[in-house]
Structures are given as structure tokens and as C-alpha cells.
């Protein structure tokens, strides 16, 4: 960008870059930096899960070291799911735990020098769409079609579906707002740190660490928590008590 920001000298860079181009049924498709960072994150998580599996295969009655750590994480995640889903919780331990660890590690991977994969809308939109699909699967599984129709016409009686289009829009807005919230939070942190290092690199020594703690650790952890909590709230609102 030649004159994106006037004083920068052109070394502000937080965009997604293409690395490798190939042709997919006549379309030009790029392998981008997001794919590479995502691959690194996923490989680290797979390595961690293999190590956890080995540790739990020879688990002892009195846990110590790594086994202790793994049990702590699992207990924390299960407690979180239990707290907000009640009786439906056991069916969702796996899914919520998986997306929690994945999003958390993606968000804080900015500390490892990667561009956080969740700062790409192509990563967060599928997560939002997954939530949307699970919510509506549960809706059609646990509610009668008549009740769903009455719910979609909700402030007015079911024979007068004037409110239906508005309720439909608000249903479709759920995955979009979920994914945009995560995306924009992480992108704003990434952009802020890139601007800081680009514009103030003369004096950016040591003290940006405090900002990393806020933008990467705090913001990333809060947004992970919020994404999982909202997913659980939406799902459990469709299930019977």
C-alpha cells in the first residue's frame, strides 16, 4: 500500500497474504498465510492431544505432573458446560471443549508470531455456521413444527405471520453476528499491534508486552469464553428443560 498510512514507510502489515496459487476446476485458488497458521495451530493441538492421550493411558490414582494439568483443563471445560447447559451438558462436552481449545489457541497464537487464524473471516464464519446448524438441528428435534411456527410469528398469533420475515432475519443474523464479533475483536488487536510496531518501532521496546497481554491474552480469552457461552445459550434455549 503506497500511501495507506503516510508516515509508516510501508511496513505496516496485518493483511492475509497469498503464498501459493493453484487452479481448482478453473478457479484461481490461493493457499494463504491463514492456512499455514491454521495448520501450525492444529498440529500443535494434535501433538498436545497425543501427549495427553499417552499420559492418560498410564494414569495413576494420585495424579501428578502432566496428568494433573490435563485433568484440570478437562474439569474446567466440563464445569463451564455444566454450569450453563444443565441436563443437556453431557452431549456437548466434546464439541464445546473442542471449539474452546481451538479458538483460545488460535487467538493467543499471535504471541508466537503467527497471524491469528481467527483474524480471517473465512475461519470464524464456519464456526458461526456450525453453531447455527446445531441450534436448528436441536430446534427441529425437540420442538413440534406447530410450536416452531408459533415461535417464528411470536409477538402476533400464529395465523397472522406478519412478523415472520423479521424473526427470520433475526435468526439469520445469529451466525453472522457471532462470527463477526470474534473476527473483529481479534482483527482489531492484530491491527493495533501492527500499527504500533509499524509507527513506533523506534521506541517499541519491552513495553508493548503489556499491550500483548491485553489484546492477545485477555481479549482472546474473553472472546473465546463469549463465543462458547453464546453457543451454549442458543443451543440450550431450544432444548426442553
Amino acid at each position: 500500500m503506497p500511501h495507506g498510512i503516510l508516515l509508516s514507510g510501508g511496513d505496516i502489515d496485518f493483511m492475509v497474504h497469498g503464498v501459493f496459487q493453484y487452479s481448482f476446476f478453473g478457479h484461481k485458488v490461493w493457499i494463504t498465510t491463514t492456512h499455514i497458521c491454521l495448520l501450525i495451530v492444529v498440529l500443535i493441538l494434535i501433538g498436545f492431544s497425543i501427549a495427553a492421550n499417552i499420559a492418560m493411558k498410564k494414569a495413576k490414582e494420585i495424579p501428578s505432573g502432566f496428568q494433573n494439568f490435563v485433568e484440570m483443563i478437562v474439569e474446567m471445560l466440563d464445569g463451564m458446560v455444566d454450569g450453563s447447559m444443565g441436563k443437556a451438558a453431557p452431549a456437548f462436552y466434546n464439541y464445546i471443549g473442542t471449539i474452546f481449545i481451538f479458538i483460545l489457541f488460535s487467538n493467543i497464537s499471535g504471541l508466537l508470531g503467527l497471524r491469528p487464524p481467527t483474524a480471517d473471516y473465512g475461519v470464524t464464519l464456519p464456526l458461526g455456521v456450525l453453531t447455527f446448524l446445531i441450534v436448528h438441528y436441536n430446534q427441529f428435534k425437540y420442538n413440534k413444527p406447530k410450536d416452531i411456527w408459533a415461535d417464528m410469528c411470536s409477538p402476533l398469533p400464529p395465523w397472522l405471520p406478519i412478523w415472520f420475515p423479521i424473526n427470520l432475519i433475526s435468526e439469520i443474523a445469529v451466525p453472522i453476528s457471532l462470527s463477526l464479533r470474534l473476527f473483529a475483536n481479534i482483527l482489531s488487536g492484530t491491527a493495533m499491534m501492527a500499527l504500533l510496531y509499524g509507527l513506533l518501532k523506534w521506541i517499541a521496546l519491552g513495553w508493548p508486552a503489556a499491550l500483548h497481554v491485553y489484546f492477545d491474552l485477555f481479549s482472546g480469552a474473553i472472546q473465546t469464553y463469549v463465543f462458547c457461552m453464546l453457543t451454549m445459550t442458543y443451543i440450550s434455549s431450544q432444548r426442553p428443560e
Binding site: L180, R181, A184, N185, V226, M229
Partner: protein, 84 residues
Amino acid sequence: MDFNENFILGCSAIGAGLAVIAGIGPGVGQGIAAGHGAAAVGRNPGARGEIMSTMLLGQAVAETTGLYGLLVAMLLMFVKPLMP
């Protein structure tokens, strides 16, 4: 009509500045939520954890509109959709 690049870039920058004014609303809203959260903890210190998580959830949802403004500003500044 033919405007040159610099004019469009300047107008995009003004638009980006106006778009992040959207941050006022969430700021006020989050402050109100935090204030009420603090009052609730003062009234009932035992329920601190639950109040905390409810407050953070509400604040994060309230933050969304501000983030939309930020996204518009970023699109105007870095993606430059108005450039011919």
C-alpha cells in the same frame, strides 16, 4: 464525474473516522453494565462469579455494534472499496 485517487482516499479516511464514532454507544453501554455489576457484587458478594460471567457476556454482546463500526473503518482504510 472524475475524482482523482487522492480525493477518494481523503474521503475514505474521513469516512473511517466517522465510522469509529460508533464506539461511543458500546462504551456507555459497557460502563453501565460494569457499574451495575459492581453494585450487584456489593449487594451480594457471594454471587461474584455468576455476576462476573453474566456481565462479561452482556458486555461482549453490547460491543458488537462498535465492532461493526470498526470493521467499516478498516475496510475503508485498508481494502479501499471506493477506489476505481
